[in-house]
């Protein structure tokens, strides 16, 4: 007997009248938009060869089928185009083709194209929850990730799963939970930090008491401590690799479950610091190349352990701000191709940085060399403490408030989101929404890396998360409704806001915070 999957609206839906136009008009618009969307394949296959989460590895984009005018990038001075330039030109052609088409079509088609196709996305996502095809066996060690990508996406769109399905998810994830703590990639697999993060975020997103209380926090802390390496960093699993992803997933889980302690934090800040590169961004491990995914993981970790001021924030912000390209989306590294998933990884870094700008300013101020003043000394005085940031009213006119009690490590994630910001986003939030809606959104539902690629759940999750981050990027208060001018397309495109440190919907975060802080 097939399981029934029903959706129910969340308690407080935003204004959403999704059926304004007549169906025939919509159908025409859809047909016209299909041409713009570049006729991508509709099968929901995961990207072959890159089945690992939190690492996007864009490969060659398929060649453009359209005959478009040459893009505006300058050629190499020697007259020869390098591989990097050729691949970039191909993507620019395809993306600019879509934008040109968008500006050329009839107004009703244009408004259709810029709409978030909720019904199609929900359909694609719920079908995945019900059943996945045989080709998904390459994600057989990522099943909590599949739950998170899908359920977080659904929740971002203001929908939720019914209580029967919620019960099934809780039950299934408990089959992935190791008896000694942590969650594996599937039943019977070793516990792994990344799938632990995915499972915990899924359970928090579901949000019921049954769901939250299913997590064994004491065992979890034991597992996290087992993954702690003598260097201060974390390894992914017993005998597994050490990197910044492992650090983030461990600290995010510990913080959100309110079990973060000094032993977990010990020497971690120095490890992350050693991964910040000369470019400004953060690498997966010391010496590697600055990368969007690791930069998010590294900065979020540093904020959660209250050591963000140790990083060179001006160069980090400069590096990330420079990653938004002419395609309007973000690339993951310098001179690499745009990819929709970095809408969250890079956009999320700038959303995090928006509330750190007083410290960035202070670092900028203290690195100024005048006469005998040495920059290193100034930098030392730039600590992220209540007294200093609170007293210095020179700092970006910011009503920053910080936790008084530095002993309570798990509180930094909570106080961070409550922080008020006077600063505008440091990226072009409308341009980013344009890339997500016009280039990553797939007509048949779901999102993709870039035109010519196939949709998948990973990109659906991180394109939607990035969309939410950009829609709320002008809001000065946490979760306050954005102005219509901050939301590209109809206001019904508005998603739920996320807590950018954990990437769970804010309401769900608050509920879990209340639950875990009273335990």
């Amino acid at each position: 007997m097939p399981r029934r999957i029903a959706l129910r609206r969340s308690a407080a839906p935003k204004t959403r009248d999704r059926r304004i136009r007549a169906t025939t008009t919509r159908r025409e618009a859809r047909r016209e938009a299909a041409a713009a969307a570049g006729r991508c394949s509709s099968s929901g296959l995961p990207r072959s060869g890159s089945s690992t989460p939190m690492e996007s590895s864009p490969t060659h984009s398929s060649s453009s089928s359209s005959s478009l005018s040459p893009p505006p990038s300058p050629p190499d001075r020697q007259g020869r185009l390098t591989t990097t330039q050729l691949e970039q030109l191909r993507v620019e052609q395809e993306v600019f083709g879509i934008y040109r088409l968008f500006h050329g079509v009839a107004p009703h088609t244009r408004s259709f194209m810029i709409e978030l196709w909720r019904d199609k996305h929900i359909e694609f996502l719920t079908r995945g929850l019900k059943q996945l095809g045989p080709s998904y066996h390459v994600l057989d060690a990522n099943r909590p990730w599949l739950c998170y990508w899908i359920i977080h996406s659904i929740t971002l769109m203001g929908e939720s799963v019914n209580s029967e399905l919620e019960g099934n998810v809780v039950q299934f994830l408990s089959h992935c939970e190791d008896r000694n703590g942590g969650y594996g990639g599937g039943p019977g697999q070793m516990p792994h930090l990344a799938t632990t993060y995915a499972a915990v975020n899924t359970l928090i997103t579901l949000g019921s008491e049954m769901s939250l209380s299913s997590i064994h926090r004491e065992n979890m802390l034991k597992f996290l401590l087992q993954m702690k390496d003598s260097s201060g960093a974390f390894r992914m699993h017993n005998g597994g690799e050490i990197d910044v992803r492992a650090c983030y997933t461990a600290i995010s889980v510990a913080s959100i479950l309110n079990v973060l302690d000094d032993e977990l934090v010990k020497n971690l800040g120095n490890y992350i610091l050693s991964c910040q590169t000369y470019e400004g961004g953060i690498a997966g491990e010391p010496g590697s190349e600055a990368h969007g995914g690791y930069t998010f993981c590294g900065l979020a970790t540093m904020i959660l352990i209250n050591e963000a001021d140790k990083l060179d924030l001006p160069s980090l912000v400069d590096w990330v701000a420079s990653r938004q390209g002419v395609e309007c989306g973000f690339q993951g590294r310098v001179n690499k191709l745009v990819d929709g998933c970095y809408s969250f990884w890079q956009g999320g870094v700038l959303a995090l940085a928006q509330r750190l700008l007083p410290i960035v300013h202070k670092q900028l101020e203290s690195s100024f060399i005048s006469g005998v003043q040495a920059s290193a000394e100034c930098k030392k005085s730039c600590n992220f403490t209540a007294e200093e940031t609170g007293q210095d009213d020179n700092l970006c006119r910011d009503g920053t408030s910080h936790p008084e009690n530095e002993g309570e490590l798990s509180d930094f994630g909570f106080s961070y989101i409550g922080r008020h910001t006077e600063c505008d986003p440091l990226f072009h939030s409308i341009a980013l929404q344009q890339y997500i809606l016009l280039c990553s959104q797939v007509l048949e539902g779901g999102f993709r890396d870039k035109p010519g690629k196939q949709r998948d759940f990973y990109h659906s999750c991180y394109c939607l998360s990035g969309l939410s981050v950009s829609q709320y990027s002008w809001s000065k208060e946490d979760g306050g409704p954005p102005l219509t001018s901050s939301v590209l397309g109809p206001y019904t495109n508005l998603l739920e806001p996320v807590h950018p440190l954990y990437n769970v919907v804010v309401d769900k975060y608050y509920k879990s915070h209340e639950f875990f802080s009273t335990l």
Partner: protein, 333 residues
């Protein structure tokens, strides 16, 4: 042993006499699994047998062969890789065979965390004498995709743990000659000049590297990689960055061309924010750029003018440049 490559010829494990003593263990998905995968029969069966030997902790040759089959179907299963390492160690297996297997797997799955982690484990066991072989292998992978993140990480690990630094700078030069926009190659170059035990470190290398980078910038001023690299050459030493004339002269030269000067302006802004005192000529060139943009606003200092020009010529980062303009150090020029 049948390989998972030719699924048509594959004999089910249940039909193989050497497995007749093993009772397969099905996956315990619970009564109502979510996002269930419609496994193909051979995948399900192989996993069921794997679970059996894994739970029995059977350290045998056939257990290794079984992990080979599972990994062939799903190289992302870290539990299988972990168990494989345990068994290889127990049996004292031939690790050169293991490397051949891994070479084949990597060619098909070059962007998989588990494969590269296994390779690091293996190379560590084999020791310094395999350094060159490992460098050769990553070179082959990078020949297919010069920006493969895992391959670069492995290469750096090999250099640091096993050695083989001798030709690394030449290798970087070769890659950059092929594609000067390859930021991974620039990153590797930085890794070499700062960490190679043969080169004397950043300070010893700075002079020649500034020369190399300047040339690269002048050939392609729109290439962000060498601009970031140039800043990196003065990392932790901003007083040198602002006092080395070659840096400000490079900015001036690019600004004078009137083309692709965003990165020059951005570097100049950083110099000013560190306390750099600009020459009259530099001021004049920047002012001229502003005039060409018909900007009427009067700005108090050169740094603010630089921001204003960037706000117009680099509209994607309008907010960022406005923020920079509003947050200039109080004593800036």
């Amino acid at each position: 042993m049948p390989s998972s490559d030719d699924e048509a010829d594959r004999i089910p494990l249940s039909a193989r006499p050497e497995w007749s003593d093993v009772r397969p263990v099905p996956q315990d998905d619970g009564p109502n699994p979510v996002a269930p995968i419609a496994y193909r029969d051979e995948f399900r069966e192989t996993m069921d047998y794997f679970r059996a030997v894994y739970l029995a902790d059977e350290r045998s040759r056939r257990a290794i062969d079984l992990t080979t089959e599972v990994i062939g179907m799903n190289p992302g299963n870290y539990t299988v890789w972990h168990f494989r390492r345990v068994v290889l160690e127990s049996l004292n297996a031939d690790l050169l065979d293991e490397r051949d297997f891994l070479d084949r797997m990597t060619m098909r799955n070059a962007k998989n965390y588990q494969i590269w982690h296994h390779r690091r484990w293996l190379a560590e066991k084999l020791g310094p004498e395999v350094a060159n072989k490992e460098l050769e292998f990553t070179k082959n992978i990078l020949a297919l995709d010069a920006k493969n993140y895992h391959a670069w990480s492995h290469r750096q690990w090999v250099l640091q743990s096993l050695g083989g630094w001798e030709n690394e700078l030449d290798y970087c030069c070769m890659l950059l000659e092929d594609d000067i926009f390859n930021n991974s190659a620039w990153n590797q170059r930085y890794f070499v000049i700062t960490r190679s035990p043969l080169l004397g470190g950043l300070l010893a290398m700075r002079d020649s590297e500034v020369g190399y980078t300047t040339e690269a910038i002048l050939a392609n001023p729109q290439n962000e990689s060498p601009w970031r690299y140039l800043r990196g050459l003065y990392k932790g030493d901003t007083s040198q960055l602002i006092s080395d004339n070659r840096v400000s002269e490079l900015c001036l030269k690019v600004l004078k061309t009137g083309n692709s000067y965003q990165f020059a302006l951005s570097l100049l802004l950083d110099l000013l924010c560190y306390g750099f005192q600009p020459s009259e000529e530099l001021r004049a060139v920047v002012e001229a750029l502003r005039n060409s943009e018909q900007e009427d606003t009067v700005s108090s200092n050169l740094a603010a003018t630089v921001c204003l020009i960037l706000e117009i010529t680099d509209p994607m980062r309008l907010n960022y440049w406005v923020w920079r303009r509003n947050n200039l150090p109080s004593q800036v020029c």
